[in-house]
């Protein structure tokens, strides 16, 4: 007697379908990916009842030869790879050869396809995985895959389906993800007989705008960075456009939408400095790298990847984005022509009907950030707060800064710059007055500028402190009383791994740590970074070990250091109600122009906005 039996093919496919076809949206993703793999230029999606009743994907790709139709619906049959080598360098979205078979096993599926060289099309249908015979059909080119009644033969699964609206929402999201990844392909989406989206092939930026909305693309910057065979491109929103939910976050690896902890972590860290911790950044980012350096065969749904050199990828993404955030690109070089922004609701005491958008803009300007000359210089060099005080005029204070006069006084009063030149050179213009001890009002060629003086100054101080300390080595403070702690298996393994190579040891030392193993489950911290000597050594070591394990490197220390610096900056920044002289205000504006990330305070709120003359005219209904 034999208890163990081979399962029938159909059941095997149904089991596989459990993972591959989690819901109609996952089937849609597979079908659209197949169309892209077939080189289609135009893909139309038709849904019925949230995709549960009907999913139809029509493409104009290569089509399937008559002889292969049956194979297309057979498990482990694919045209995309043939060997392990192929798998390791796979560039197509599909490679498992099981999506269609799985989908067919739990629905009523039909494929109509005409291979490029065939004289007519053929159609094959499968009912719950039971294949019929191919028959001739009429179709100009490409392929139509039609999936009806998902889960009709697996009632247990059917029960897990949500409302039509929810399932449709998921399908739409799947559609969006794929549409974003291929701006060069045209897409169409129809639900219950209504056309909902029609996306013509075109430039990436246009696709982002159509799919993610004009608000996003108005507030996002484009980036494209390459280094060492890695490329990161796409669009990311400025921190001021942060969301309270993680809903606008799209990451692609070699064109494939993925969810990846390593990448999200790198992105979050890049935003860390400019974003409040309970806000989420918005972005659509594409990572491209040699396919042999990334393993896509991690999960049947193919939305997870594993990098061969995760540490390098993490570092690259962090730096590329961090840099882009510091220097927003994609704006006119002399940049005070910020894009319009949907206004946050502000109420006014008079004049403007509630809800009407107020001219409110947060742009970026030509950064003239200078090299950090050093700690004290950076701390006190640029903004002579005390020195500019009227009682001790800077000019007579003997400080040798020839260009101070020009930068602190309005152009008319000095070097004979024309207003246009002045705007180019001093995009934030010149101070007019201080409002209630909180805001600085300034005028530039375009109109009025309002600056939150504490927020702006805090950011300036913070950037200076960071600049002064970046690149310093990390002095280590060995502990008189080493701190031992019970460590879990991963922590112990990480320490062992780290200590087993000279590079690993060096990494720990560079981070300012000395950690040794005392017993199979005890570690001891013997030294910590001198700057953080009052911190909880164990918690710090644990964080660092976790980062080393998951991301290969750690920015925990830089972050902790930055927290300290942020507190210092907050204390050092001018407080509300401190009366500033015009010269001091101008000095602040000049410093903002020269400081990276000065458009946001340390918590991600804007530090200034512009109301142009046109905006103001509109408010007063002039020229209408």
């Amino acid at each position: 007697m034999s208890l163990i039996k081979l399962l029938p093919d159909q059941l095997i496919s149904q089991i596989a379908a459990g993972e591959v076809v989690e819901r109609p949206a996952s089937a849609l993703k597979e079908l659209m990916e197949n169309s892209l793999d077939a080189g289609s230029a135009d893909i139309a999606v038709t849904l019925g009842q949230g995709g549960v009743k009907l999913l139809r994907v029509t493409d104009d790709g290569n089509g399937i030869p008559h002889g292969d139709l049956t194979l297309a619906l057979t498990r482990h049959a694919t045209s995309k790879i043939a060997s392990l080598d192929d798998l390791e360098s796979v560039a197509s979205l599909g490679f498992r050869g099981e999506a269609l078979a799985s989908i067919a096993s739990i629905s009523r599926t039909s494929i109509t396809s005409r291979h490029a060289e065939a004289s007519h099309a053929w159609r094959i249908a499968a009912d719950g995985g039971l294949l019929g015979d191919a028959s001739p059909a009429a179709l100009d080119r490409g392929t139509i895959v039609e999936v009806q009644d998902i889960y009709f033969n697996t009632p247990a699964r059917r029960k897990f389906l949500k409302t039509e609206q929810t399932e449709f929402g998921h399908c739409e999201e799947a559609f969006r993800r794929i549409a974003l990844s291929r701006p060069d392909v045209g897409f169409m989406l129809q639900h219950n007989g209504r056309a909902l989206m029609r996306l013509a092939p075109g430039a990436a930026k246009r696709r982002f705008t159509e799919v993610l909305g004009p608000d996003f693309s108005a507030e996002a910057f484009e980036l494209d960075e390459s280094a060492g065979g890695l490329r990161l491109w796409g669009m990311a929103a400025k921190p001021t456009f942060s969301r309270s939910a993680r809903d606008t976050q799209y990451v692609y690896v070699n064109g494939r939408f993925v969810r990846d902890k390593l990448i999200s972590h790198a992105i979050r860290q890049a935003y860390q400095d400019v974003l409040h911790h309970d806000r989420h950044p918005a972005f659509a980012l594409f990572l491209e790298l040699d396919p042999t350096l990334v393993d896509v065969n991690v999960h049947p749904s193919k939305t997870e990847v594993r990098f061969r050199e995760g540490q390098a990828v993490h570092r690259f993404i962090f730096h590329a984005l961090h840099k882009a955030l510091a220097t927003p690109v994609g704006l006119p070089a002399n940049g005070l022509v910020p894009p319009p922004v949907a206004a946050p609701a502000i109420s006014y005491s008079s004049g403007i009907p509630a809800g009407q958008p107020y001219p409110r803009q947060q742009g970026s300007f030509d950064l003239r950030a200078n090299e950090a000359p050093g700690f004290y210089q950076t701390l006190f060099g640029g903004l002579p707060r005390e020195a500019v005080d009227t009682s001790s005029p800077l000019v007579s204070s003997g400080i040798n800064q020839p260009d101070m006069q020009a930068t602190l006084a309005p152009p008319q009063a000095s070097s004979g710059l024309s207003p246009e030149q002045a705007t180019q050179e001093y995009p934030l213009g010149f101070a007019l007055a201080q409002l209630h001890g909180v805001y600085v009002l300034a005028q530039n060629a375009l109109g009025l500028i309002v600056v939150d003086m504490h927020a702006a100054h805090e950011r300036i101080m913070y950037e200076r402190l960071k600049n002064a300390l970046d690149g310093d080595s990390v002095p280590m403070q060995p502990l008189l009383l080493p701190v031992s702690f019970n460590a879990d298996r991963f922590e112990v393994a990480t320490v062992q791994e780290q200590l087993s190579t000279p590079e690993g040891q060096q990494t720990l030392h560079q981070l300012g740590f000395e950690i040794v193993q005392l017993s199979p489950s005890t570690l001891a911290v013997r030294a910590i970074p001198a700057m953080l000597q009052d911190a909880d050594a164990v918690a710090l070591a644990r964080d660092v070990l976790r980062d080393l394990r998951e991301y290969g490197g750690s920015r925990v220390l830089t972050e902790r250091r930055n927290e300290l610096l942020a507190t210092m900056a907050c204390h050092a920044a001018v407080r509300a109600n401190r009366i500033l002289s015009i010269q001091e205000m101008n000095a602040l504006l000049r410093d903002m122009e020269a400081t990276e990330r000065s458009g946001q305070c340390n918590h991600g709120r804007p530090t200034w906005f512009q109301a142009t003359m046109a905006d103001l005219d509109k408010m007063f209904m002039r020229g209408k």
């Binding site: 050093g374 002064a468 280590m476 403070q477 060995p478 701190v483 001198a530 300290l564």
Partner: protein
């Protein structure tokens, strides 16, 4: 119930007990102090539930009183009254009237019976140690600065108080440096140790004076009592194991030199101006008969101080957190200090000429 008392008699005891009253408390009665007067004696008691100070004054009060009243407010009132003002206090229901001359203050009270008085642990055996106030104060001051502040290793947020044979040892450490001192006792005891909470130590330093008067210390389990002058202080002790200090204090460091305390202290203070403000590193560079103190900040600004010393040991270049050095130099009371080293990676030992029991150990920093 009412009493009379002179403002000046009350003021100092009042401010002594009030200093342990926590400013903000979820338990209202803890912002109060307990005031008990009877038989020409007045007793003030304050507590934060971890420690309690009571102060008994022998003074004619002409009546009886037993209540609790806001410590802070009573102190503020007494402070601002004219010198030698005669104060009367009278309670009625849940209020007390404090009156002198034409000033009148009506304050709320809470019942004396509700006051969470800490009592001496009963039924346990005490070890009773005697020492004079001046010596105890000196011991605390020599080590107090090395205690941790709010370390999660809670047992470091206090001082080790150890009676062993005829010696009393007191040790403070924050994990980076350690300060040890010791004195001889009149009697011999079995080894006994406890950890005095940080706050208790700081209060004791404030309350003890430089007299030869005796302090009686009663050590029970979980509790310690200090009695001196009019004061009785009861404190809980920190429950935990203090690190074994004997393993931390090095012996046989062969490279050592003596130096005038003020000279090196001032040199360190000057050099520290240009040390990195975040980690305060300073290098001590030892050569034959010379010591150089060098600091550099992230701006590459540099300070160098050169001191002539008598030194024939190894050449050494060793980094320290200058704060730890300045701390010890500020807190030991003597003219000459001795620094001893093994090598650039081992701890440094600081000792003083006129108290061979004192030892300060500090770890170098790898700059």
């Amino acid at each position: 119930m009412n009493i009379k008392i002179n403002r000046d008699t009350l003021l100092k005891p009042l401010s002594s007990v009030t200093s342990i009253v926590e400013r903000r408390h979820t338990l209202p009665i803890l912002s109060n102090l307990l005031l008990e007067a009877k038989d020409e004696k007045i007793v003030l008691t304050a507590t934060d539930l971890e420690m309690q100070i009571s102060l008994a004054l022998q003074t004619p009060v002409g009546g009886e009183l037993s209540t609790t009243i806001s410590a802070k407010k009573l102190l503020d009132i007494c402070r601002s009254l004219p010198e030698n003002a005669e104060i009367t206090m009278a309670t009625a229901e849940s209020r007390i009237q404090v009156k002198t001359g034409k000033s009148r203050f009506n304050l709320q009270t809470l019942p004396a019976a509700d006051y969470p008085v800490m009592t001496k642990a009963t039924g346990t055996t005490y070890t009773v140690v005697s020492i004079d106030q001046k010596s105890l104060k000196r011991l605390f001051k020599q080590v107090e600065f090395a205690m941790a502040q709010q370390d999660i290793r809670y047992y470091l947020n206090g001082l080790l108080f150890e009676v062993n044979g005829n010696r009393l040892n007191v040790v403070g450490t924050d994990g980076h440096r350690l300060s040890f001192t010791s004195t001889e006792l009149a009697q011999t005891y079995e080894k006994q140790e406890l950890i005095l909470p940080r706050k208790t130590v700081i209060e004791l330093i404030k309350l003890l004076d430089d007299s030869e008067e005796e302090v009686t210390i009663e050590i029970a389990s979980g509790q310690v009592n200090f009695s001196f002058g009019d004061i009785k202080l009861i404190s809980k002790v920190i429950d935990g194991k203090f690190p074994d200090y004997t393993r931390v204090i090095p012996v046989g460091h062969k490279n050592s030199f003596n130096v005038d305390r003020m000279t090196i202290l001032l040199a360190m203070q000057r050099a520290s101006i240009l040390s990195n403000e975040k980690y305060r590193g300073i290098r001590m560079v030892l050569g034959s008969d010379s010591l150089r103190l060098i600091s550099t900040n992230s701006e590459q600004e540099e300070a160098e101080e050169e001191l002539e010393i008598a030194y024939g040991g190894d050449s050494l270049d060793i980094g320290f957190n200058v704060t730890y050095m300045i701390d010890v130099l500020n807190n030991v009371n003597c003219d000459t200090v001795t620094f001893s080293f093994a090598d650039a990676n081992s701890s440094c030992l600081v000792t003083v000429a006129d108290d061979e029991t004192y030892k300060y150990v500090v770890m170098p920093m790898r700059i």
